[in-house]
């Protein structure tokens, strides 16, 4: 009899321990997201959630799939390596639905952003003092933005 009493209290304690563990396990299963710990100490589902963020820039490949004429004008000019959305801004909406107006960039602002003279820019980069250079005449009167060297493209090539 004494022997039974001796381990009965251990059994009660063990049962308590098991119950506590099961409660912990149940709460843990409820609280910890299923994908947590798949790749590391974080929620793996967050990766696909972040990857699902909508696009705003379509990427130049999408532009070039339709605007092949502009692509060929650009290819031989000084702006060959300047991607479309560098000047035209984010155009994912226009790429998805061409009826959406892509808007027309303002050359007075855009050209100056890169080409306004500043001693802080790299020397080899082409720069002009806008006021002296054009005295208010819009840039695209002489320079076709897609191939800006004068005479490089037929007049009226700007689109």
């Amino acid at each position: 009899m004494n022997g039974f009493r001796d381990y009965a209290h251990l059994l009660r304690f063990a049962a308590l321990f098991v119950i506590a563990f099961l409660i912990f396990w149940a709460i843990r299963g409820f609280v910890v997201p299923p994908s947590f710990g798949k790749y590391g100490h974080y929620r793996a589902a967050a990766l696909s959630e972040i990857a699902a963020h909508p696009l705003h820039h379509a990427g130049h490949a999408a532009c070039e799939s339709c605007h092949t004429d502009i692509q060929s004008t650009k290819a031989s000019g000084k702006h060959a390596s300047v991607n479309c959305e560098a000047c035209h801004g984010p155009q994912a909406q226009h790429a998805a639905d061409p009826s959406i107006d892509p808007g027309k960039p303002d050359t007075a602002v855009l050209c100056a952003r890169c080409h306004a003279v500043s001693a802080a820019r790299p020397r080899s980069f082409p720069q002009v003092n806008i006021a002296d250079h054009s005295s208010g005449v819009p840039c695209q009167t002489c320079h076709q933005p897609h191939s800006p060297e004068i005479g490089a493209t037929p007049a009226g090539g700007a689109k």
Binding site: A46, A86, A116
Partner: protein, 243 residues
């Protein structure tokens, strides 16, 4: 099939290891994108940067970055003293609308575009108490906005000042290296809109990426190398005055 006790003991660990792979499905976030094939970084070619601010504007548009906060920004350095210890650094509105023109030509000027360095051993992910920020299997440091508490430990842990607390969501926010673009085969918004190619997305696991030849033939540096963060934003021709 008759298995002895010894055979079972040998097979059990092997089965446990195999079971792990059975449970884990293929790590893909887009149909043709395999995370284990990539290790992303960026190359910034300082002599090519003209300070136009295109990258800052493109990043804001692409990622809906709130006004006054930046996932990428451009700093202009002006170094006049010989020992390069006292650079004058400006970044008006992150360089979003460009920089004031300079007429006098004393000292040297250069632009330093900055963004998250997507460190392989990033201090920011190590301090997160809840596992809300992490280095993804393809080498991009990301924040899980649903898990982040907004405690800002990571904001102060980043040696490069690349994180902020989003003013509306109240969670940590930072450059994702346009994870939604690079997993679809596109480049980042900043690289897409850089007119001079001063910023280039690089995939260090792609043997055909030109970065490997570039690193072997140019003077390339990362920011704060002494902190051993494993930064993966490489700067070509970085001046010693840049901190």
């Amino acid at each position: 099939m008759n298995l002895s006790r010894r055979q079972i003991l040998v097979l059990l660990p092997a089965a446990a290891v195999a079971w792990k792979y059975v449970l884990a499905d293929s790590p893909q976030s887009a149909p043709n994108y395999n995370m284990s094939d990539h290790w992303w970084g960026m190359l910034i070619d300082i002599p090519k940067c003209i300070g136009c601010g295109n990258c800052v504007r493109a990043c804001k548009a692409e990622n809906d970055v709130p006004d006054g906060f930046f996932r990428t920004w451009v700093e202009r350095y002006h170094v006049t003293d010989g020992n390069m210890t006292n650079p004058e650094v400006i970044s008006p509105d992150g360089g979003k609308e460009g920089f004031p023109a300079v007429t006098e030509d004393a000292g040297k000027y250069f632009y330093v575009p900055k963004l998250c360095n997507h460190c392989a051993d990033s201090p920011c992910t190590q301090v997160c108490p809840v596992g809300a920020t992490f280095v993804s299997p393809d080498g991009v440091v990301l924040v899980d906005p649903k898990y982040c508490l907004g405690c800002a430990y990571c904001v102060q842990a980043c040696p490069y000042g690349c994180r902020y607390i989003h003013p509306e969501k109240k969670v940590a926010d930072k450059c994702t290296l346009c994870y939604h673009r690079i997993t679809k085969g596109l480049t980042t918004a900043c690289c897409e809109s850089c007119p001079t190619g001063a910023r280039q997305l690089v995939d260090l696991k792609n043997p055909k990426d030109p970065i490997h030849a570039f690193l072997k033939t140019h003077s390339v540096q990362v920011l704060k190398p002494q902190m051993a963060t494993g930064a993966k934003v490489y700067y070509n021709d970085l001046d010693g005055s840049v901190r």
